[in-house]
């Protein structure tokens, strides 16, 4: 059941990204350009998503366990450090350079767009590079 649910969640998530226009780099870059010709779409998408999770997560996390597995598997790192802030800052620069964050980039592979593939390969390379560095 667990793999099937993950597949369905991925489909719903990808469907949401596509209908919201987040797989369109022009819209994302338009949102990140409040001093130019601002495209507010992403603000609505982000608000809608957080509106749902902020309510639902309260109720879900009151449960002893999830429905299909024994335990919740949540990040437990609470530290506010340079790693977090520098990472987020670098991620934002990459987001602004091309207009994809990881989800929409993966979803855009479905359009068989060569540049989306280049983006995803570079992204995975960046992750592997950082992983190697932080282990040494």
């Amino acid at each position: 059941m667990k793999p099937l649910v993950a597949l369905l969640c991925g489909i719903i998530f990808g469907f949401g990204l596509a209908i919201s226009g987040m797989t369109d780099t022009a819209k994302v870059l338009g949102f990140l350009d409040p001093f130019g010709h601002w495209v507010p779409d992403l603000a609505f998408t982000m608000s809608g998503a957080v509106f749902v999770t902020i309510i639902s997560f309260r109720f879900i996390l009151r449960r002893q366990s999830p429905v299909l597995v024994e335990d919740f598997n949540l990040p437990d790192n609470k530290s506010i450090d340079m790693r977090l802030l520098a990472g987020a800052a670098i991620f934002g620069v990459g987001w602004g350079v091309y207009g994809y964050c990881p989800g929409p980039a993966i979803s855009a592979l479905a359009y068989l767009d060569g540049k989306a593939l280049v983006f995803v390969i570079a992204m995975v390379t960046g992750m592997a590079f950082t992983n190697t560095l932080s282990q040494t």
Partner: protein, 139 residues
């Protein structure tokens, strides 16, 4: 107002997908983390690859069902796709998350870490676009 109904509906749908992940399998729908774990061959990985497959199938389903055209391909150069991807990979690995993990799920959990990460990447994203478009004239 109708212009923004699809971005809002899409956001609600994304929130529902993230909620279902947590409710059924107890996981945060953080896409950068799921992608990294999937390629670094963690144990019990099939659900991750299926989630990723779903991320590709979802848009195909949407465009087919609603007869909506695919978004226009970006006219930015290839090197910008490579540079953007590389920085997104480095940043999400270092900062432990992206828009889905920190913004959609982290804010849902009222995580201070995620709030600070979200404010930081939103700000640096906007600064980057400002520099590229308005100071460098679009590269």
């Amino acid at each position: 107002m109708l212009t923004y109904s699809t971005p809002l509906i899409g956001g609600l749908i994304i929130g529902i997908a993230a909620s279902a992940m947590l409710y059924f399998i107890g996981r945060i729908a953080g896409i950068s983390g799921i992608v990294w774990s999937a390629i670094s061959a963690r144990a019990d990985n099939s659900w991750r690859w299926l989630f990723i497959s779903g991320l590709l199938a979802g848009p195909i389903l949407y465009h087919a069902l609603f007869n909506a055209p695919y978004p226009a391909a970006s006219d930015l150069p290839w090197w910008q796709a490579a540079a953007g991807g590389l920085l997104v990979g480095i940043g999400t690995k270092l900062g432990s998350g992206c828009t889905s993990g920190h913004a959609v799920c982290g804010l849902g959990r009222l995580s201070l870490r995620s709030l600070l990460a979200t404010v930081t990447f939103m700000t640096s994203g906007m600064v980057t676009v400002y520099v590229i478009r308005h100071l460098l004239g679009g590269l």
